[in-house]
């Protein structure tokens, strides 16, 4: 398509050809989507969460569909950083060499986050990190780090000490003052923040009286959370000077534009990948068309353009 809109954006020194990333945990390491879409159309691929050792995740059932959304309690199941480098990263490097790869990092302790980054620093192909301090599905670590300013700052400081690559910190919506957390991680050297991770939720089967998820509670994603996410992006964008990556329920180009207007520099698409595996490219195209139709020359001009 030939609409002359500059779709590029810059996230903490990383320049992206499109303002759209994949949301961690909803896109694997891109391989599964390579038959269905052209990965080169994406701004960046954000991988599934990677930990130091393999994690088993939580017992099944791990998902429950809810009104306009879904709960998940996957629990960051992954094969560990070593396997990630040998399998996933090697595939990306050989099959999608033009696409920036941002690795989503998880840990139970501050030391584990650092150890994962230390290992990944040996891999030249990686464009940046997204530090997940907001997973509601693990007992130790995860969201616990993202719910207080002090611990969020501590993880950020430690990770910052290990890398000069762009460092994105992923924030939890399960807090009273998300702008305060964002300010704290900015002060410790984060290059960008991404939000929101899933909202802690629950669903109960009234036939069996049991929770629908084996773990009881899980993270809510999808269109149901979009207004909460847009509000939080708006609050955070006013509180920090670093770029904000907005996500939560984006299904269409209009949804993505809404996040940009609220203050996001780029957006990420998650649950929509399950509904329509071509969502990401459809949304990038739609954003370009939207700008073109309105005579907006640079998509970056949308950022924070909401009228007071």
């Amino acid at each position: 398509m030939n609409v002359n809109v500059d779709m590029s954006v810059n996230i903490g020194g990383l320049s992206l050809r499109a303002p759209l990333l994949t949301a961690s945990g909803t896109f694997g390491s891109a391989r599964e989507f390579s038959e269905l879409i052209d990965l080169n159309r994406l701004g960046a691929v954000v991988t599934k969460g990677v930990s130091l050792e393999p994690w088993e995740g939580n017992p099944a059932p791990r998902i429950a569909e809810t009104s306009s959304g879904m709960l998940n309690s996957i629990g960051l199941q992954n094969a560990g950083v070593e396997s990630f480098c040998v399998n996933d990263l090697a595939w990306l490097e050989s099959e999608a060499p033009q696409v920036p790869v941002i690795v989503n990092v998880s840990g139970h302790t501050v030391e584990e986050y650092v150890a994962v980054i230390d290992r990944l620093e040996w891999e030249p192909f990686i464009a940046g990190y997204e530090v997940n301090i907001s997973c509601p599905n693990v007992d130790a670590g995860g969201m616990a780090f993202g719910t207080s300013c002090a611990s969020a700052a501590e993880v950020t400081r430690a990770c910052r000490g290990s890398t000069e690559r762009p460092l994105i910190v992923k924030l939890s919506p399960n807090v009273t003052d998300i702008a305060g957390i964002a300010t704290a991680v900015e002060a410790e050297g984060a290059d960008a923040v991404s939000l929101i991770n899933t909202l802690l939720g629950m669903a109960i089967d009234v036939g069996t009286f049991r929770p629908k998820l084996a773990r009881g509670v899980g993270g809510l994603s999808g269109p149901a959370i979009k207004p909460v996410a847009v509000r939080m992006v708006w609050q955070v964008a006013r509180a920090v000077t670093i770029p904000v990556i907005g996500m939560g329920g984006i299904m269409t180009a209009e949804d993505a534009i809404e996040f940009m207007l609220a203050g996001a520099t780029a957006v990420a698409v998650g649950t929509a990948n399950f509904v329509d595996p071509t969502s990401t490219v459809r949304i990038v195209d739609g954003m370009a068309e939207f700008c073109h139709a309105r005579g907006i020359e640079r998509v970056a001009d949308l950022t924070g353009a909401v009228l007071a």
Partner: protein, 276 residues
């Protein structure tokens, strides 16, 4: 060596716009829908499934996974049981309705070259992924025998197809309204013990598949099962559909839904979530 995964080549997946060409009730609570779906129909192998987006603009978002009962002449047939919102909407779809599906997905039934006589054991809607298999086996000149069960005669599905391609079809109904009274596992247990089969294929409620697997193991016949899990993505990225195997957790949507029974670590937790 075993990897509990998919050892054979699977065709590339596509997102295809499909059109309903027929949709009829075939048994109590069960419909058979036929789609015009040339690409997926051409490539899909027995035991694979599709991920169908039944409706848009509704408050349930996810696709629904369905096995393919038959694939021929650019068309796909799906047997479905009405259990919730999605399958209710599917039952209402009239010819001409457009939907889209991702497929072919998953790892289907393995057919060893040495197979001479296969026993297919179907419980209720378990016939869904076994129809295509029965036709494929017959086409390859492999003898097919079927044991099928249902709560009552009104709810038997797939009988016509099985009677057309199988040399013998045994029926069991819980209430005795058709065939032998009792569970299909009773009939199947006797048949497996008689011997003569070199492969057992089964699909149905998970407790039933577990019993069939044990009967086949006892008779030392290789047995494959087709497992259902709740699925979000259907293509291997979300990790919602995990099955515990002797090699660790595997994804039902890419490493399955068909597994060798001896590789599965059975867990009764799934009896509740996936029972219909």
């Amino acid at each position: 060596m075993t990897t509990c995964g998919c050892a054979h080549h699977t065709p590339p997946r596509v997102l295809e716009n499909v059109t309903v060409v027929a949709n009829d009730r075939v048994a109590q609570g069960v419909g058979l829908v036929t789609f015009d779906s040339p690409r997926i129909a051409r490539d899909i192998q027995p035991g694979q499934f599709v991920h169908l987006r039944i409706a848009q603009g509704v408050d349930y978002l996810l696709r629904r996974p369905f096995s393919i009962y038959r694939a021929h002449a650019g068309r796909l047939e799906i047997l479905y049981q009405v259990v919730g919102r999605g399958t209710r909407d599917l039952a209402l779809a009239t010819p001409g309705t457009e939907m889209d599906m991702v497929g072919p997905l998953g790892c289907g039934w393995r057919i060893a070259d040495s197979t001479t006589h296969a026993l297919l054991v179907s419980g209720g809607l378990g016939a869904a992924p076994l129809g295509m298999l029965a036709e494929e086996l017959a086409e390859r000149g492999i003898a097919v025998t079927v044991a099928m069960g249902a709560p009552c005669g009104e709810r038997l599905v797939g009988r016509d197809l099985f009677e057309r391609v199988a040399r013998r079809v045994e029926i069991a109904t819980d209430d005795g309204s058709c065939g032998t009274a009792g569970f299909v596992t009773g009939v199947c247990g006797e048949m497996v013990a008689e011997g003569g089969y070199d492969a057992v294929y089964t699909c149905g409620p998970e407790p039933m598949q577990r019993i069939v697997a044990a009967q086949a193991a006892e008779a030392e016949v290789a047995c494959q099962v087709s497992l259902e899990r709740l699925m979000a993505c259907g293509i291997g990225v979300c990790l919602s559909c995990v099955v515990e195997t002797k090699c660790g957790l595997r994804r039902a949507c890419v490493d399955g839904p068909v597994f060798y029974a001896k590789e599965v670590v059975w867990d009764s937790a799934h009896d509740v979530t996936c029972e219909r």
